[in-house]
Symmetry: C2
Subunit: 187 residues, 2 copies
């Protein structure tokens, strides 16, 4: 299981970015997201609607305390790996990340932490790995996409989104949207 | 030259996302971004400040009309490639993208178009390639990161950000920020 932890969500200000973090987590193969900070049920509704439409079993919820959640996660996943994505960390393509990526590909449970505005120093100590997608400032969405791309082979994602109402078929010149027949087609 | 065109920016609503698109473009190796939609000088200021601090020659500006810009770009870059990133397109890892990626690696000029809320149908026809980072809904930031990752080898980015005031050194356990000596160090 690969779970993303999004830290310090703020209602209104972070709504769209946190939604993009969650949808990127889903599309790039994570199994769920937990979000700390200000509760914002609108985000959960958006994610649930995407899952109903496009399939898959992606879990999204808010948590009370990231510290409590991380502690609990560690207890439940003794051999699991906690990865904190930060521009200060070791580049994902650095050879120091090779062993971690190998373990994930072999099935290790992972908690991927992506920051909000200010990440507390403790997070750098709690994480097993502090990982960067380059040491330039950019976006937690981009960092998450690159990390998941390196950790999960994209061709393995086929079959992860089977039970939705619709699906998109690659089209070099326009849009092809197909209704899946196995589900109620009322919209 | 790799230029990103961000379509249909809306002030307030898109401010942070467009900023993330621009910073991701810069960090993943594009040379500049042009933005259509509502003018928003705050974004340009943020990008300029990041360039001053972290180095590189990344250009960011608003344009009046995306159609006019694309037409002009095409005239100036006769052998250039226009790539439109969309969830409806052909997956970047599909073999149909191989030739395009090879041309980019060999130095072809590229205009990478990333959508705003509603992309006009014409864009799908104007583009040489409509490319997806998977056919699931997620984020233009993630799509751009993955596209640039496939188009530009990340190790080639070293040396692109040399003339800034500061730089970050990879640290497995905290933050290392170094002042560059070649620049005025007043902050």
């Amino acid at each position: 299981m690969i779970t993303v932890l999004r830290l310090g969500h703020r209602v209104v200000r972070d709504q769209r970015l946190t939604t993009h973090v969650a949808l990127t987590a889903r599309a790039f193969g994570a199994d769920g997201i937990v979000i700390s900070g200000e509760k914002d049920e609108g985000i959960i509704r958006v994610i649930k609607r995407v899952c109903e439409e496009f399939g898959g079993n992606f879990d999204a919820r808010f948590i009370e305390s990231w510290r409590g959640f991380v502690k609990e996660w560690r207890e439940k996943n003794r051999t699991g790996i906690i990865v904190h994505l930060t521009m200060y960390g070791v580049d994902i393509d650095d050879e120091r990340c090779g062993e971690m990526l190998r373990k994930i590909k072999e099935g290790a449970d992972v908690l991927v932490v992506v920051g909000g505005p200010k990440v507390e120093g403790q997070m750098y100590q709690i994480a097993d790995y502090n990982i960067a997608a380059g040491n330039q400032p950019h976006s937690e969405v981009a960092a998450l996409a690159l990390f998941l791309d390196r950790a999960i082979e994209r061709k393995k994602l086929k079959g992860k989104f089977e039970n939705g109402r619709i699906r998109i078929i690659s089209n070099p010149r326009g849009k092809t949207i197909v209704q899946n027949k196995t589900k109620d087609q009322t919209e």
